[in-house]
């Protein structure tokens, strides 16, 4: 208990020091960097994961292949990937590639499973009433798969927010800066400060997705047993 209190105190002193709030190493700048990496990686992963997941789920072809590849990709250690590519090309791009590789599988797999799991009768009715292939995807499959798709996006977003700290390892910015620097300097306060900020960011992401779910998922789907 005492220990926890010490940690909070440590974090609070660090957070409220005026020097933390200005300059390139200040919290606002580092947070923006962190959000930038996260945003870019997540956007790219969403485009890839949604497009592939919808395509494979809608056509019903290549599902096994897509899911297998995605699951194998999950086994690749992100840290290793970053180091490997940074050796070839020293820029932020390899870091983003690694984050995208981390974020695609949950989005792809959930989108695919969501679309595939859409009630066969509803799909048949949609087709039988004269919806085109796109119409079925857009008006029936996508909205019905939305709870699972959002779950996939949320999983990826939280993973990416937490993992974007590795950008600091090859020398880039983000909240990882505090952790890496703190570890290097044995500055415990800095490590705790950076970590707590990352955790807070992850919680905010969680909240945003909870709100998004209420906003875009039909109450007709939330009322059923499906939940995430």
């Amino acid at each position: 208990m005492n220990d926890l209190w010490n940690q909070i105190d440590l974090f609070w002193t660090w957070l409220t020091a005026s020097s933390q709030w200005e300059g390139d190493d200040g919290i606002p700048h580092r947070t923006l960097e962190h959000l930038y990496y996260t945003g870019v990686a997540l956007f790219a992963a969403a485009v890839i994961g949604l497009a592939l997941g919808l395509l494979v789920g809608h056509t019903g072809r290549g599902g096994f292949l897509a899911v297998s590849v995605a699951n194998v990709a999950r086994a690749i250690p992100t840290f290793g990937l970053v180091l490997f590519i940074v050796v070839i090309d020293y820029s932020i791009t390899p870091v983003l590639v690694a984050l995208v590789a981390l974020a695609v599988p949950p989005i792809l797999v959930n989108t695919f499973e969501g679309v595939r799991g859409v009630d066969a009768d509803a799909k048949d009715a949609a087709r039988g009433m004269g919806m085109s292939g796109w119409g079925v995807l857009w008006r029936a499959e996508l909205p019905m798969a939305l709870p699972l798709i959002l779950l996939g996006l949320r999983t990826s977003a939280i993973q990416v927010v937490a993992t974007a700290t590795i950008a600091a390892y090859p020398g880039f910015g983000g909240l990882g800066r505090y952790i890496i620097d703190g570890l290097a300097r044995n500055d415990y306060q800095l490590v705790v400060g950076g970590t707590v900020l990352v955790v807070l960011l992850a919680l905010i992401v969680q909240l945003i997705f909870a709100g998004l779910r209420r906003l875009v998922v039909s109450p007709g789907l939330l009322g059923t047993a499906r939940s995430s």
Partner: protein, 376 residues
């Protein structure tokens, strides 16, 4: 009219779902496709809206090959109802019903107004418009399914086992309302079911499919029951098809008598020599009161004083079938059925012999019942 011309559907694996089927589904009538599972009845239905493309042969709507239309456009002009309704869980009831109007780019106001009108038509409360499918019972969902198919007022409706997934009480209710609706709308309906009773109740014409996608007989329900084409059809219809056939013989064809009918104020002496041992007692308005047993009459007074056994049920001479009359006779304490007119006044009494006469008059079944046993 929907016309099948030598329609065959063969799947790559070699399975034949439809084998050279030729058939007409007349305009404004209900044609029921019935048969064993794997008989191709659903496949046949799905060739009409191009959900299945035949390997050979063609399907025509009013003389025009369905392949002349793009599938999506063709389907928007044909109502489609399926077994578990297939409602969209993410859409409200009104928006589910307005699906095809939206596809046809009606404006939202007009589409919803149409949806509300149809909800009333199929017996759904207006208050359900904003609910979601999961909040409705199976029967209610099926009503929404029918309303959705009717939304753009298509001349043709395809219904694939629409009432199979609900319990028997709700099913009977939905069937009755479906017939009432069809009386108003006169759609050209193709209806698939595996339930022979449902086929007989709903169909103007019944097409029986046999495993392997063969069409074995197309006839009115009455003819189908009287003259099944072969042992398969006879067996499929079941052993009690003779009894079922009685539903198609009007009760008015049975001779009625006034024998042993007495008003309640007649003296008991007049009842003592009743031939069957029972006297039907009627009031001054000729409404039947009950049966009095000749053996149990009081020593004196009027027949109305005797303790009366209940009639069970009467049959409507104008509207009921011989089947209802026979049922009334079997349940009656005297063994005689009481026929009444629309106002409930006595029209006459028929005993089982009279009913047999009516059945015999309706035309003897050329195939004895034993043949059906072989087929089953």
């Amino acid at each position: 009219m929907i016309t099948f011309e030598g329609v065959t559907k063969r799947y790559p694996g070699g399975t034949v779902a439809l084998d050279d089927v030729s058939l007409d589904c007349p305009t404004g009538r209900i044609t029921v496709f019935v048969g064993t599972s794997g008989g191709g009845k659903t496949t046949a239905l799905r060739t009409i809206n191009r959900m299945v493309e035949p390997t050979s042969g063609r399907v025509l709507i009013d003389g025009q090959d369905v392949r002349e239309h793009k599938p999506a456009e063709l389907r928007r002009g044909i109502g489609y109802v399926i077994q578990h309704a297939g409602l969209f869980p993410h859409r409200t009831i009104e928006d589910n019903i307005a699906t095809v109007p939206y596809l046809l780019r009606w404006n939202k106001k007009k589409a919803r107004a149409r949806a509300h009108e149809l909800m009333e038509r199929v017996g759904l409360e207006r208050s359900m418009a904003r609910r979601y499918p999961f909040q409705l019972s199976g029967g209610q969902q099926q009503r929404v399914g029918v309303a959705r198919a009717l939304a753009a007022d298509p001349p043709i409706m395809l219904m694939d086992e629409p009432f199979s997934a609900v319990d028997p009480v709700v099913r009977a209710e939905l069937q009755d309302e479906f017939l009432r609706l069809q009386d108003e709308l006169h759609k050209t309906i193709v209806f698939v079911t595996h339930d022979v009773d449902e086929a007989i109740k709903l169909g103007d014409r019944i097409a029986v499919f046999q495993t392997g996608g063969k069409l074995v007989q197309v006839d009115s329900p009455e003819t189908l029951l009287a003259r099944p084409a072969d042992d398969f059809v006879a067996g499929f219809i079941g052993h009690d098809r003779g009894i079922r056939r009685l539903s198609f013989i009007p009760a008015s064809s049975a001779p009625l008598s006034e024998r042993d009918v007495l008003p309640a104020d007649a003296p008991v002496e007049r009842a003592r020599d009743a031939a069957g041992g029972w006297v039907l007692v009627v009031d001054a308005d000729r409404r039947p009161l009950g049966w009095a047993a000749a053996a149990g009459l009081p020593a004196s007074g009027v027949v109305g004083d005797a303790s009366l056994a209940p009639i069970g049920h009467t049959f409507d001479v104008a509207g009921d079938s011989v089947r209802a009359a026979l049922d009334a006779a079997i349940l009656s304490p005297s063994g005689r059925a009481v026929g009444v007119d629309a106002e409930g006044r006595l029209a006459g009494v028929a005993d089982q012999q009279d009913l047999s006469t009516a059945i015999a008059r309706a035309g003897a079944d050329p195939r004895p019942a034993e043949a059906a046993e072989d087929g089953g």
